[in-house]
Amino acid sequence: MHRPSAEEFLLTLLETLDELPPDLAARVAALLKNDHVDRAAALRQLFEDVTGE
């Protein structure tokens, strides 16, 4: 059985959700690749950015 990583888990989930900002998944993927950030703060910023644009 394939055990998804946390990143895969979230990205698969995002694909199933309706009416999300179009590039959210791509930006989340880029964010999760960066190990050197405060992930929670970066996610908050991302949510603000994609809904404010």
Partner: protein, 765 residues
Amino acid sequence: MNEKLHRLVMHAFRGIPSEMTVDFGDGESTVVYGDNGTGKSTIADALEWYFTGEIELLSHEGRQHAVRYVGGDADGITSVEVLTSGTLGGKVLFEAERTPDLFEALRRETFLLRGRTLADFVNKTKTEKWKALVDILGLDAIESLREDLQRARNDLRKASKAVEEEVRVYRRALSETGDTVSEATVLANLQQICGMLGVDPPQSLDQVVEPSWITAAVGASAGVSASSDREGLVADINALADPELDKDAFAAWNKLVSSDRARQLARASLVREAKRLLEAQSIEGGRCPICGQKVDQKVLAKKIESALVEMADAARDLERFRDPILEQADVLESADEQRQSIYDRAKELSLEIPPVPAPPDTPIRDQVEATAPVAIDVFTSYLADVRRWDKAAAKLARQISPAKQSTRDSQLVMLAALCQQIKAWQQAEKKNVRARRALALAETVFDAYQQKQKEDLGSLLTQISGRVAKIYSTLHPGEDLDAVSIEPWTAKGVELAINFYGSRQRPPHGVLSESHLNSLAIALFLAMAATFNEKLGFLILDDVINSFDVEHRGRLAELLADGFTDWQLIVLTHDQQFFEHLSRRAPSWRKIEFTSWSHTSGPRTTKYETSGRLAAARERLQSDDVQGAATKGRRALEELLQEVCEALWAPLPFRRGQANDRREIGELFIGLRRALKEHAKSQLPVVEPIVKHLEADVGATLNVAAHASRGRSGASEVKAALDRIDALDALWSCPACRTRVWHKGTPDAARCRCGKSAFPPVVAG
């Protein structure tokens, strides 16, 4: 395709003084039989050490160094070499730096079940079982991302509340009727005021926020700025809201942190800090840097992990009660900031205003951080002081209000202040919309993530449970015990359950015998591997049937032989009946019998290794290790002579116990000659010259002691001796099918598998 084992080579490892090779063919299943103490578990040890970096039993006792052969050469190298069907094989040396990549890749793979730790999982507590599952399923990383999403959501919620409060303040200032204010009403009011003052009314609120409109409408007359500042101050004082204390939230928090569970929480930060330190630096010299006591780093890490799991539930409650308290802290901090700002501005305008009451010495955040109760009385008293200050500020606002002035300038100032407020309100409203959108998105993602996590776990548990139940019922058919499953237990626990004569038992310990619990453990092991293994295609079961009766041993043998044909099973057992049962049931499996073990020569098996030892000798020779080649060559010759003597029923004196395995090489030469005289006299002239040469080799070229005294011996001499051993070996093999000439039959009349070679050999003519 998951990787299978092809070959295992152990050198100076555990009970093996020199080298031992176990050949698994192309990944074939193997049953290994041997009495206790014959060294069969060394196979499991070597594979555990290679694939996990440790032998758990040794690490647990702080005896990791015992992977080395005791009494071996101090300079001797302990190593394990594994050849697999894929890329996971390799060679590792004792104390050499190991790459963590392999261990990380295999951390979640299940491959080894030992009799002595058989029921470990079954006997774990609910939270320990959960932790074990979390490890296997890789849920820790998924849980960590959930926590980050939650933090992002909480931060956005907090930010959104702060902006909402800001909007509420402006709405109050702009409307006399409370929170309800619309753009149309504000615009209408503004247009009316402009009309009264003879100023061009704005057509929209967007126009109001344009600096050019304000300048054109109000002008830049002297004194307007200062008056505008006073007006702004008055407006802000009038907009002050009475901060309220949510006493219920404080009471709930105080009750939680005063409970027994809170004491665990107090330790949580300490344990987390210990984990952080342990991950950041290793314990040097195996001693605790604080108390100096001897401690095993892995044992300590496990204890810390276990303590953290225990605290997980309590931490969740803490999280639930903490958020409302922190929101209260936000409210009070925001109220204090507002009043400080009014105080500072009043002072800049040289107005008399009392100092803002100081917040309590023990801020709410400090109490939350310390998981300590909050003194509600202190904050009630503080808010009473704040209300008194608000009254004093309101009195000041009445005194300085330019409403009493009736000049056009003061009315224009009021208009300018109103426009500034409208601008700030419009900006706050926009900020509020953005904050709510961001929060809505964060909540959508977080809620869906949490829901999917729950559903996936439920589905996984159902999947494993189905497999466990099937395997368990194969081992115990017809018994009124069914519906074995792994079930969730609160947010952070799982438990085993079983139907026992119609009643649900969770956990099943109260109703199952030791052997039933062990069956459950085997079922769990096999189900876990079948469900989750992604890389390893082999499973090792080391003496797991001790508590099984004959009938259940038979059922397990059938299950392993018939139910796991896609897997490479390596079954180690000291039970002859189980070995024979498995051998009959799975005739294609390889069989290895460990016959004895001695300190000097290590484990002995019934499998002869002449060709392997000869190949190793030639490798040594190629790398200029002449003495090593001689040692290997001598062992190859012993192996060959033992095999021939056994096959030809060589008449050797009887010896009690295991001594038959360890005869002097001279005795074996005698045995070979006697056997040939008895069964194949015609072959003696062919064999005798080779044997004579080899007897000489044993005394000189293949004599390690002689090598040591003579210094570096000639490689050509050793090579010639190895060639002679090869020649002797070739006499007993069929050139067509490569099997021995005694493959079938007895020493009086035997033949190879294809029948082209016979013993005694057929004499031409």
